[in-house]
Symmetry: D2
Subunit: 363 residues, 4 copies
């Protein structure tokens, strides 16, 4: 098990989808940040099931309680423990899963690894685990915004074959939040919603791409050679449930260009360096260069589908299984706050790491 | 700086392209593995410049010396330090870079971060740093092969628009090594070589995709929720110089399928579970499922091109710079052993981590 | 903040003495260990205030709730979160501490470090934080006992000038628990209790020494050169509140012997190596040698005393302060389960680390 | 194996006493520190054998080479690799040790753990490993002195029964270096030297205590609850070869005082807080309070003695062994630079960690 992420702003998530609750411990948060539940709850509300017609109807208020680490509304510099109780658990919906492995879920691999699993829902592999990430990410976002001038956002770039047109440099949070699929291209959003509804009615599911953006990151964040910003963002995204691919800047499309076409020239203006193009996605040699960071994460179509599928039972006999339970026909609308949270967690960690080694006080 | 990778089989690389040398310390290698320089040198030979007409002509024998950690030809369980001296350094070729930032290189970001840089070559951001990775990876590959029955390989999947046809399940190492571009599809390989030669003649460069493969990985490796095998492989690949994207199994293409189409059904045969399809790429819920692991890494076209480009000097004045020095028109042939090394390093680390928590002796 | 301990069996504690509660996340526990609250509560009962006439009268049941990580009474291999709510908090008793620093407490240093502190009790520096350690330690003790045959215990060796006579090889848990001071030498225990009661009546406090013991540790645990068993035990003990010194085996007294006198000769009997003397305390070169581990930790007299003392207020003016609140006149009886817990946490971590690198399956 | 120490200023040592050499990689050193071999060599000269009549006569110049991490005499912020070649290795002196375990050495435990060992000298458990620590410590000391105003020193406090009188607040480096035993109390030093010479002539050895001191540490360094400054110093000292005990401030003697007697009152003067007494040793609640840090480490008498001793051979038969080879009759004079190095490594790491979380730029 590896339930911690980050080196200096370090989170440890815990909890299964069915059990006492889920949560996170945040260790290393700078002291004296104003922080109450009201700073965290809105992000959880963006993540929670039941928020719209195109996500899982599981009824969870996902109300967060700060158990430690603050005093009189400010962070103490001590570990912050955040707790969300599980409410609408319906283990009976999963009784068949006690003995059968759901295809393309983690049921089989958890059993192979640990010799047992909590079969009431996804257990630890449920997307419910991301509550801890999103709660911790809310703190990271606040720190980045208020103390480093960094703005984090994410949006749905593509669902199935439907692509949005959006510019990472200018897209606004309210555009993203203007519709339930969280796509700033309103026309595309409407088509995406119809696609998702159609998939739900068919008992099927669809995947897509979320674009993550960070604006205002100063030059110098990122720790070569292994903790390059690209590497840590890739790890963060590929640790999210259902993610299948990651690309930064020009990404996979870069291979269709030559070096001469692809390079970002440098220019200077009033003592500031910038690149008129940004194929690097704001990162060069693993270190931020002052341009906007943008990257894409692919999420596969949700594995839970309401049709009969071939599978195997725990006695290793061939059988079939039909999906049940309350699931999302498309993970993307709820993945948006997850991508933002993980982006914020990577960046605040690197902000502190950069300050530790290269802070101006010392040298 | 973050020069270490791995939790239990932990490597620390060091060294600049111009300086005393480059190398690696491997900490946590199991004891009693037969190991001499002869186990490591062949992998370095696959990585070194000057090996063929389509890579950099820098003359480096890259001869490795084991400084510690072995005794009478066996590993002691103590840290293994491996040293490669730099030989054919030509800092004079870089004199113009002392005052100008090469576009899409790390010159500017290193200066922004650290306030200085070794401008004689890429310094720490040079691909020469990967010598330590490849040397350590040779040890990891040997451990995986001899003691876990795991085979690691990688090959060039695409260069520019030229795509190879190859099956991760069956491709053979000698097919990959049969040509200088390291592509098992011979017809495609010939076209790729011509493309790279053409780029070199034009002072230009091309990018492409390397596929990484691991066969024989048992079910159960990978540590949710943050150190999923997918997440650690993504980080490993995205920490390599020039990498721009990563995808596992069906990857970005998964979004064009629905859940019903995409799921890998389970089947059992003689007490073993398998999936007739392998869109998961051998990993489900971040844990290996016993199928072949395969993934793709996109490498951008090399940033060093022999034409005049706009850039900025250290006094932040606009200027131009034309590439010089001995560079690769395409990083892919030499990236193949790097991808293999990083894959092996991820897997051996997870093999040991899995044994620590879930080893059969305890429970 | 550094709220985590251990590399593979890793705990993260959180919580202040006054606030929502205290607890711990245990990550890396092997799966399939039978575990319910009944395995943990007895150790918390040995640690809790109000358990006897010679400890703090604060009324806390310290009832533990397992929030995650178990299913049907067994560990899942996923993170185990344990929660204990605070009950009998009386912040009003601390109102004077809002503006004055208690001498030899952490009030001043926390304020100097973080710029603020929870002045309602010791906040994070309160011994209440050790609830998480003791709860996690209960799991570690169970694993060591049931799966590695290792027995952990600790006892009060000295209080003020009163020394106990006890043999680490043979002392029994029920002897330790036979009296409220937790000293297996009954005559000494009676005198210690009188000394502590006298100190309490005088508004004063006393310190002493706790001996920690581990029997049945096999040869080979411990990770040179930095994570020697001696080094990690020292760190563990010196991280406990009020600890001032640590010694292993012959400890400080070793300097009064010469090498010829001090060495532990080796002898073999029926294929087993042993040392007739055990001045090494069971550890040589940082690795267990199969003999009983024993070491001593010195705890200073408790800093809270009920007399007027010179101090400084938050405006940095000289003033005086008289202790209030419910405190222990001697930390030792409650330190015994803390020492056991930290010993168990060090040993289970090293058991897993040893298995990872040197486990018999591989080489 | 655990060859790394420190979180942000992280060192990794490697090398056996007989083999290609020994060394260290320092990762995380701030950039732009002036650094050449001349900054490091003097500390190695204080540590090396052959420096005086009372230490091992092994002839090693211990000449250090900087392999990476500097450019034009300044640190780059990249990993610094330091190499010292072994010269005067005489494996033939150890041939008997190939089959017999030296009492109270690590021969038996290394074999039990790893299944083999480098029997030519102590291998990895040799004090030669500390070359890497002392070399890295020289960099840490320079950083602390030049950029944080912190002075580190250590001296021999006691040898056998001979105690020195010295005040941590005022002792000067040149007083310590004025004699070959490194004791600032000249009269005591003369007696210590005679004691050590007598032990050597008898083929015997003696132990003692080294006091470590850090002056000028600002309030606020140290990371509760596990990485308290006390805990990390204890671990650092107890990771040194032959160390058996550690105490901070009043240490074990604190248990002979009551709380009223032991507390350090606070006083304020011109806006600065101080404690007229310093029984806390400069650390309260694990965090520095601005007073001088001082602590003591006990080193046992060296295990190599030139008399016949009972032991066991690798076939587990009882036998005897007489010490050979070139060893120290007393480790203390050479332990002084080791204690200084480890103290500096702990403090620079905490300086950077404190800056990361609590640096003034953010909040």
């Amino acid at each position: 098990m590896a339930s911690s992420f980050g080196r200096l702003f370090r989170i440890t998530t815990w909890g299964e989808s069915h059990g006492g609750g889920v949560g996170v411990v945040v260790d290393g948060c700078p002291p004296r940040l104003a922080l109450t539940e009201a700073d965290i709850q809105p992000e959880l509300d963006r993540r929670r099931p039941g928020q719209s017609a195109i996500v899982s109807p599981r009824k969870e208020s996902d109300t967060v309680e700060i158990l430690s680490g603050t005093f009189e509304g400010k962070t103490l510099g001590t570990p912050i423990c955040l707790l969300v109780r599980n409410q609408d658990a319906r283990p009976e919906a999963y009784s068949e899963m006690a003995t059968k492995f759901r295809p393309s879920h983690a049921d089989y691999t958890y059993t192979a690894k640990y010799g047992l699993r909590n079969w009431q829902g996804g257990g630890r592999s449920s997307a419910r685990e991301t509550i801890g990430r999103v709660a911790a990410g809310a703190i990271a976002k606040k720190l980045l915004r208020e103390h480093f001038g960094v703005e984090i956002l994410a949006y749905v770039q593509q669902t199935g074959k439907i692509k949005a047109v959006a510019d990472p440099e200018t897209v606004k949070p309210r555009e993203i939040e203007s519709n339930i699929v969280r796509c700033p291209d309103i026309a595309a959003a409407q088509r995406m919603i119809r696609l998702i509804e159609k998939a739900r009615q068919a008992g099927d599911s669809v995947g897509g791409i979320v674009t993550g953006v960070a604006r205002g990151v100063p030059p110098g964040w990122g720790e070569p050679v292994f903790d390059k910003l690209t590497a840590d963002l890739a790890k963060a995204m590929m640790s999210l449930p259902a993610s299948r691919g990651f690309e930064i800047g020009s990404g996979f499309a870069s291979i269709l260009m030559t070096g001469i076409e692809h390079n970002d020239a440098f220019r200077a203006k009033r003592g500031k360096v910038f690149t008129p193009t940004n194929r690097s996605g704001g990162i060069q040699g693993g270190i931020s260069n002052g341009a906007t960071l943008y990257f894409r994460t692919a999420f596969k179509p949700v594995a839970t589908v309401m049709v009969e599928q071939d599978t195997v039972d725990v006695a290793l006999r061939n059988t079939t299984l039909k999906g049940r339970g309350r699931h999302d026909p498309c993970v993307l609308p709820r993945a948006v706050p997850m991508v933002e949270a993980m982006t914020a967690l990577v960046l605040i960690d690197h902000a502190l790491r950069h300050r530790a080694q290269c802070g101006s006080e010392v040298l």
